[in-house]
Symmetry: C2
C-alpha cells in the first residue's frame, strides 16, 4: 500500500504531506475535526483524502504530526489498532515555559515514551526539519537531511524510503534511543531560532551534516 | 594579549592552531613531551612557540586539545594557575568501548565536569568540528559552524572572536549546560563516521545549521 496517514493538519502535517506527495505517495489526513481535515486535504490536491482521528488508519505508515502530549494521547487511544503499523514520531518535547530544557527526563526521549504506549513500530523522523523547509523541499538550495532512528529495521527502512523518494537525504542514525540526541540538539536549534542574536534564523534553517 | 595556548599536539591541536593562526593570533603549544611540542611548533611556523604542560600558560585563552580524562587531570593539576583564564573544552566524552553512550551521566556534560575542577572560565567550542575540516578551514566549500557555549560572557565572546577571525561562523548557543546537547549530537555524528553505511562520512564532515 502506498498511502501515508498523517494525523494533524498544522504546518508540520502540511510539510510532511508535501514530501510524501513529492515521493509519489497518497496521503490520508486525519484530524479531530473532520471538516478541517477535509478542507486541508482539498487544498493539497486529489491524492489526499481525509478522515477523523480514531478511525483506522489506511496507511502502513502513520505520522503523528501533533505535539508530544497529543501524540501520547492518540497512540494510547488507538491501542492495538496500531499493531504492525510504522508510527512516525516527529515531536520535540521542549519545555516551552522555560525554553531551557526538555519535558522528558535526561536519558530518555519522547520517541521512547511514545513507543512504550503503542504496539506499533515507532520511528523518529522529521523532528529536525522545520515545516517551511519541508514544503520547499530544500534549504538554501541544499538537500534536506532527514535524521531517522528506530528499533525495527523494516519500519526504519520504510521511512527512509519515504524520505529519499521525497527528495531528502535519509540518515538512519541507529536505534530509537538515538532520539535522545536528535531531540536534544533540535531543542538547541529551536532556542537559536527564538534568539534575536541570530537574525537569519527564523524557524527556517536546516540541520545538515555536510560531507 | 594575542596568544592562544593550546595544550596537546594531536590532530585537533593542529586544527585549532590552524584556525588561530588564520585569525592572526600567536600560538603557544604545550605538551607533556617538550620535544614533541617543539617539533610540532617548528612545523607550524614562526608564530608558534612551545613548552611543557605544567608551565604557566601565556595565553588568556587556553585550549585543552586533549581527551576528556586528560583534560580533567590537566585543569586539576594547574589549580588556581588557571584563574581568570578562558579554558576551552573541546572534548567529546564518548564511551569508545560501547560506542553507544557518553561516559558522562545524562543531564550533565564533560564541559560542566571540567568547569567544576577549575577556577577558569570554561567555554565549550570546537567539539563538533573534525580536525581535517579545521585545517582546511571549510567543508565542501562551505564555512564551518563553530558552536560555542559558556557561562561567562567575556570568555564566550573571546572564543567567538577567535572563531570568527579564523574564518568560521561562531554560534554562541547559550550557557555551558548547552554542552549537553553539543556533546550528545556530536557523539551521534561520530557514530555515523564509523558506520560503513555512510560511505562519504570519514571523520571529514561538518555539522551546520544552513540558513
Amino acid at each position: 500500500m502506498n498511502i501515508i496517514t498523517i494525523v494533524g493538519t498544522g504546518n508540520m502535517a502540511r510539510g510532511i504531506a508535501a514530501r510524501a506527495l513529492a515521493a509519489g505517495r497518497k496521503v490520508e489526513l486525519l484530524n479531530r475535526d473532520a471538516g478541517k481535515a477535509a478542507a486541508v486535504a482539498a487544498e493539497l490536491g486529489s491524492n489526499v483524502t481525509s478522515g477523523t482521528v480514531g478511525q483506522a488508519p489506511t496507511g502502513d505508515i502513520v505520522v503523528l504530526a501533533v505535539p508530544f502530549d497529543a501524540a501520547k494521547e492518540i497512540v494510547s487511544a488507538y491501542g492495538d489498532a496500531l499493531a504492525g503499523k510504522t508510527i512516525v514520531d516527529i515531536t520535540n518535547p521542549v519545555n516551552f515555559e522555560t525554553f531551557d530544557s526538555l519535558v522528558v527526563a535526561p536519558g530518555t526521549s519522547a520517541a521512547e515514551e511514545i513507543a512504550a504506549l503503542t504496539p506499533g513500530n515507532v520511528v523518529k523522523a522529521f523532528n529536525t526539519t522545520f515545516a517551511g523547509a519541508l514544503i520547499a523541499g530544500e534549504t538554501e538550495g541544499q538537500i534536506l537531511d532527514g535524521f531517522i532512528a528506530g528499533d525495527n529495521a523494516e519500519a526504519t527502512a520504510a521511512v527512509a524510503s519515504l524520505v529519499s523518494d521525497g527528495g531528502m537525504r535519509p540518515l538512519v542514525v541507529g536505534a530509537l534511543k538515538r532520539s535522545r540526541e536528535l531531540e536534544g540538539f533540535q531543542f538547541l536549534v529551536m532556542t537559536l531560532q527564538a534568539n534575536p542574536t541570530f537574525e537569519t534564523f527564523n524557524w527556517n534553517t536546516g540541520l545538515k551534516i555536510v560531507g
